[in-house]
């Protein structure tokens, strides 16, 4: 069954209380963070804490992702070696380049063999958060078949570009388009950058709708309070589900009558509309909305 990835919730890897409750906060995926949430002096203890949390706590109802430190740092290789051996669902790789991803892939092949895991079972989610990464997103996805999604990192990207990051997000419009299209072309999920104002739910909804309208399949979150709003944006509405079902019923009728093309409510229904309807009905089924 396809796993939902509407929300990916960041949790600091050095906070035992949050690690304990991460799995029940309602997000589809949780990202245990060893990078930005953890100060330099705490990197080693956070790594150990996350390792022990994965070994001992039950995360079976979420996708378990660990954001390791960038490959250019002294922490990354130890992060990967330690964490991969307790088999998270995926590693999230900051500022990843094609070469770095290939290096990580080779490491994981070795670890999976040593630990007796299925080959390729540990997935990768690169973060596109540099000008280079944005320009090369298609190649980055192509570089490794472990990649299941791309996260757009708006804060770091705008910092790399030397531009201001705003709530309205006009400055990342192109980046969103680029990432969404590349992901769609390569059939992986596209995860939008998190909304950083924890108390502005109206702004969050607007921002999420913008991402969805550009084709993003999910959004990262830095606060558990954001999860319900993001989920409601990515869920089809009652009317959308109803319409999708009508399209599929009309399609069945048309097929019985031997028609290739048909109309519904005076509008022509062709393959793209049928595909969209199928996706809507499938998502509704996964969300138990039917």
């Amino acid at each position: 069954m396809k796993r939902l990835r509407r929300t990916m919730l960041f949790m600091p890897g050095n906070n035992p209380g949050m690690l304990q409750s991460a799995g029940i906060l309602g997000a589809d995926s949780i990202i245990l963070d060893l990078e930005d949430a953890v100060s330099l002096t705490e990197k080693d203890s956070a790594r150990i804490l996350v390792r022990e949390a994965i070994k001992n706590l039950d995360y079976s109802n979420v996708e378990l992702v660990v954001r390791v430190n960038p490959i250019t740092t002294e922490f990354a290789l130890v992060d990967i070696d330690v964490i991969a051996r307790v088999k998270p669902d995926a590693l999230m790789i900051p500022k990843a380049t094609e070469e770095e991803l290939k290096t990580i892939d080779e490491m994981l092949i070795k670890i999976e063999k040593e630990e007796g895991f299925d080959a390729g079972s540990i997935k990768l989610i690169p973060i596109v958060e540099t000008a280079y990464g944005l320009q090369n997103v298609y190649n980055i996805i192509k570089s490794c078949n472990r990649i299941v999604a791309i996260l757009l990192g708006g804060e770091d990207l705008t910092s790399d570009l030397g531009i201001k990051r705003t709530k309205e997000g006009e400055e990342i419009f192109y980046a969103r388009n680029q990432v969404s299209i590349a992901c769609k072309a390569m059939k992986v999920d596209s995860i939008d950058t998190p909304f950083t104002d924890t108390n502005d739910f109206e702004g969050l909804e607007k921002d999420t709708r913008k991402a969805k309208s550009l084709g993003f399949t999910g959004k990262a979150a830095i606060s558990p309070k954001h999860i319900d709003t993001i989920h409601s944006v990515f869920a089809p509405t009652f009317d959308e589900i109803k319409h999708a079902k009508r399209v599929l019923m009309a399609m069945e009728e048309a097929e019985k009558e031997g028609k290739g093309v048909f109309s519904l409510d005076g509008k022509m229904v062709d393959a793209p509309i049928i595909n969209r309807a199928k996706n809507t009905v499938e998502l509704a089924r996964l969300l138990s909305l039917t």
């Binding site: 304990q20 409750s21 029940i24 309070k225």
Partner: protein, 512 residues
């Protein structure tokens, strides 16, 4: 001997007396008799206003062995109990029983009086802070008797708890003893816990820092009950008086629990027009109120009443028209006080009207839904809100047992683990509220329904809520925390837990 809940309780307890054993929440219902009250009649020439606390003590004739009572509407800002007991101690009087409806950290001067034999017995509904800690170390000569709010009123009205002198802290009093809690620098709102004391004590003294010309208006406690009036500089610290409410929790786990509790309420079908509701003043309890508020607004629901200790949050819901009226036994904050002053639809209920099982019908009998907390819950759904993880007293029923008995749906909201301790155990340290009155436990990891409530189980099965047995919840907790060691207790009984009907539901033994 063991009572029906399996608690080992002696037939006779030194310092308490013969034990009537708990046999069920409503087993002792029937015909009750109210006590005869002795009244010193007052003639037209009698003066009630006295000049000092010493004069009060002399006039009411406090002697060794008497029982004096106080209410806790001034909460952690109360000055009256300390002042009165201090004056009694100065006169060399000993062996006093203090019947204070709740004891707070600022009542710590009681500890010295206990050690000096001035106070040898305490009757209360709730204890926290240094007094509770020291009593848990066994310093009090006789076991504390812990009542529920309704049970205390029952005990007073039946004569089981005889009060020689009731000291009523009065935010406003006139020279003839009419009292209200609405006005004055120490205004605290509804005086629900003082009513039975006023009506049944042998002598009643109003202590006020706002003596107004006769007559005070409105009259909450009438002059016909009050013997004397004393004016003092201050009856309490306003900052401590209205300190009862917390904020809605920001903790995502607490918010999740609140959402699940709200879903449970809706699924049972009880959230509808004319519904009634009560919740506590704590963070998760208020978050449940917030969820209910959202749902009621979305669906145009108007409830009949909300009750309890009333917080500003419930007042907001009332002002939005979500409830037609409020029943208030105490105001937790200034907003509640102001609402109580401003509209007759925000009504006081006495502690007796709130939860006394032995009158012609308490408000709890009309309650649809109540949201409560717990320090421990066992696999028979018995709940502890009296003792903490170290076995020491840190609370008490308050209205817990009363509301749980009366409400159609009693929901306990709690995290499954607090710090590194599981909340669900094989057996709670102290039973405050019996499992037969507890319907649903909502934790962030799952929801357990009392097996006796097949009706609720059927309704919740139709939802996506994570329903599991209480044993399964316990297993989930213990997987993370391990099984806690049993608390080691001595044989010394330091508290007797009376159920609302006067029977003994449990005792507290001194932790080692």
């Amino acid at each position: 001997m063991k009572n029906i809940l399996g608690r080992e309780i002696p037939e006779y307890i030194e310092g308490y007396g013969k034990v009537t054993t708990f046999e069920g929440a409503f087993k002792h219902a029937g015909i009750k008799t109210k006590k005869e009250v002795k009244v010193n009649s007052v003639t037209p020439n009698d003066e009630k206003v006295l000049k000092s606390i010493e004069e009060v003590i002399d006039k009411v004739g406090i002697t060794d062995g008497m029982t004096i009572s106080f209410h806790h509407h001034l909460r952690n800002g109360d000055y009256v109990l300390n002042t009165v007991v201090g004056a009694i101690a100065s006169k060399g009087i000993k062996n006093i029983t203090v019947a204070m409806s709740s004891i707070f950290p600022n009542h710590s001067p009681l500890i010295e009086h206990i050690k000096n034999g001035v106070v040898t017995k305490i009757v209360t509904n709730y204890m926290s802070g240094p007094v509770a800690q020291e009593i848990s170390r066994g310093i009090l000569k006789n076991p504390v008797i812990m009542h529920t709010h309704g049970g205390r009123a029952r005990a007073i009205e039946s004569g089981d708890l005889h009060i020689d002198v009731a000291f009523i802290a009065a935010p406003t009093a006139d020279t003839y003893g009419n009292i209200n809690g609405l006005y004055g620098k120490s205004a605290c709102g509804a005086l629900g816990y003082a009513v039975s004391d006023a009506e049944c004590a042998d002598r009643v003294v109003a202590i006020t820092d706002n003596l107004v010309p006769y007559p005070a208006c409105p009259i909450e406690i009438s002059q016909i009950y009050v013997d004397y009036v004393l004016k003092v500089d201050s009856i309490g610290d306003p900052g401590g008086i209205v300190s009862g409410t917390t904020q809605i929790t920001n903790d995502p786990v607490g918010l999740k629990i609140a959402k699940m509790a709200s879903d449970v309420m809706v699924a049972t079908g009880l959230v509808k027009n004319e519904m009634s509701f009560q919740t506590g003043a704590g963070g998760i309890s208020l978050a449940v109120a917030a969820q209910l508020r959202k749902y009621m607004k979305q669906h145009g629901i108007v409830g009949s009443f909300a009750s309890g200790g009333i917080t500003g949050y419930i007042v907001d819901m009332f002002k939005e028209g979500l409830f037609r009226s409020l029943f208030d036994v105490q105001c937790f904050d200034l907003q509640a006080v102001q609402s109580y002053v401003s509209t007759h639809k925000h009504q006081r209920m006495s502690a007796s009207m709130y939860g006394n099982p032995d009158n012609k019908g308490a408000v709890v009998n009309n309650l649809d839904i109540v949201i409560l907390g717990a320090t421990e819950i066992d696999t028979n759904f018995n709940v502890n809100v009296t003792t903490g993880s170290d076995g020491a007293i840190m609370g008490g029923s308050g209205g817990h047992s009363d509301t749980a008995a009366g409400a159609k749906l009693t929901i306990i909201v709690t995290q499954l683990m607090k710090a590194r301790l599981p909340i669900i155990k094989d057996s709670v340290t102290t039973i405050t509220t019996p499992g037969e009155c507890i319907d649903v436990i909502v934790t962030e990891r799952g929801i357990a329904v009392n097996p006796k409530r097949l009706d609720i189980i059927e309704k919740l099965k139709k939802t996506n809520l994570p329903i599991m047995t209480i044993e399964e919840l316990k297993t989930i907790a213990e997987k993370m925390t391990g099984k806690p060691k049993a608390i080691e207790l001595s044989d010394q009984i330091i508290a007797v837990i009376e159920y609302r009907d006067g029977s003994v539901i449990d005792v507290v033994r001194k932790p080692l």
